[in-house]
């Protein structure tokens, strides 16, 4: 790939207190952002079992989601051919940060049942020339504060989650899906089901 031509509109001042070796790479771009949001008013219905295993995921686009849930099997799922909601990484990227936000889908207050914990997450999944994706475990970004049973959450309570400095390489040509899912626990050993809205941003360098 050719180097970009660099034209400085204004004089720049650079201060170094040590000599950089030759062929040092200077990263001129601050990186790129990939914003994502599910964009549906009904929320995304997700499920996990009482041990916390996530049963399904939904793919997130920009103001869109795949709407139909995809079953998870050992961290893999197959994208439906009639709803393609992944993209292809167009350069050798390094995933640095994932920031996500989620809220219970309803605009009414929400009190999860006693003995339950709801921990929604966002993650990246990858595939090569296929629509069968595998979730990258290190990208699973859970909310910082779980929705706890017995607690009343006011309407529109937004909970955040983030991971920073992941430094995870994603090679050019890799198919990437942004997924959302649910983990959690239940004292009654029953599966948990709830609908959430998700949005957030990836920062890549």
């Amino acid at each position: 790939m050719p180097n970009r031509n660099i034209i400085f509109d204004q004089p720049i001042q650079v201060t170094t207190n040590y000599d950089l070796p030759s062929n040092t790479q200077i990263n001129l771009s601050p990186g790129v952002l990939v914003p994502f949001s599910v964009g549906t008013g009904d929320g995304i219905l997700l499920e996990c079992d009482s041990t916390g295993d996530s049963h399904n995921v939904i793919l997130i686009g920009s103001g869109q989601s795949s709407s139909q849930s995809l079953a998870l099997t050992n961290g893999t799922f197959t994208q439906l051919t009639n709803y393609i909601c992944s993209f292809i990484m167009p350069y050798d990227a390094t995933l640095q940060n994932i920031h996500m936000a989620t809220k219970y889908y309803s605009n009414d207050p929400w009190t999860p049942s006693s003995g339950t914990r709801y921990i929604p997450y966002v993650a990246l999944a990858t595939a090569i020339d296929s629509n069968t994706f595998t979730i990258l475990p290190e990208t699973v970004t859970r909310v910082n504060s779980a929705f706890e049973g017995g607690t009343q959450y006011p309407s529109n309570t937004v909970v955040l989650g983030n991971q920073e400095n992941l430094a995870l390489g994603v090679a050019a040509g890799t198919k990437v899906a942004i997924v959302c899912g649910l983990t959690g626990s239940s004292s009654s050993s029953s599966n948990l089901t709830a609908a959430f809205s998700f949005y957030g941003c990836l920062w890549l360098t």
């Binding site: 030759s22 909601c85 020339d129």
Partner: protein
């Protein structure tokens, strides 16, 4: 015009400037089916194919737009144009100047398919508006990136075909309106058998602008 690369005289030895993109455009068609139309003596340049195109978003897609032929005001070469109405405009404005594009694309079959009307070449390309005051987009010819579905071959559902081009020289300036476009060309004139092609092609990919 050849631009001069500024020298950075900070070091005795030359340094390597990393070529990282300023932005990327993720795109995927979602669940939108595009009804590609074919017309005899199509406006498609250098071959036959769909007389329309669509603009994918990220998890959705525009409706289709008719392609017409125009002349590039700078090069004098024929170019493909399409007019985007205001109903489903998935174009956007870029905020910086870019000199190169990387295009990665793939096509998934949502139904099994055996092309019997010649080879099919679904493509993705980058387009930009001709002027600041209208919605006529011009496909940038160098960015057309396609895959091949060969005549007579049976392709099962969920077949994925992919292709890419990197470091394509482009000239996109701050304020230009840009769109990703999808369509297809064919190896032979299919007009007698393929008036409307209700596509089972699902496009996705990513474009980096540098």
């Amino acid at each position: 015009m050849q631009k001069e690369i500024n020298k950075i005289k900070l070091f005795d030895e030359p340094v390597t400037l990393a070529s990282r993109p300023g932005m990327i455009i993720p795109f995927s068609q979602g669940d939108v089916d595009i009804e590609f139309q074919y017309t005899p003596n199509s406006v498609i340049l250098n071959g036959t194919g769909s007389a329309n195109c669509s603009i994918p978003g990220f998890g959705t897609s525009s409706t289709s737009y008719q392609l017409v032929t125009g002349i590039d005001s700078i090069t004098g070469n024929p170019v493909r144009l399409f007019f985007v109405d205001t109903n489903t405009n998935y174009g956007f404005v870029v905020a910086q100047k870019y000199d190169y594009a990387n295009i990665y694309m793939d096509v998934t079959l949502s139904q099994s398919w055996t092309p019997l009307e010649g080879d099919f070449y679904p493509y993705v390309a980058l387009a930009k508006t001709e002027s600041s005051w209208n919605n006529m987009y011009q496909i940038i010819p160098e960015t057309v990136t396609s895959v091949t579905f060969t005549n007579g071959v049976s392709y099962p559902i969920n077949t994925v075909r992919s292709n890419s081009q990197v470091a394509i020289p482009i000239s996109i300036t701050k304020g230009d309106r840009v769109a990703v476009v999808c369509g297809f060309t064919t190896s032979t004139d299919t007009s007698s058998t393929l008036a409307i092609f209700n596509t089972n092609l699902k496009f996705s990919g990513g474009i980096a602008l540098l």
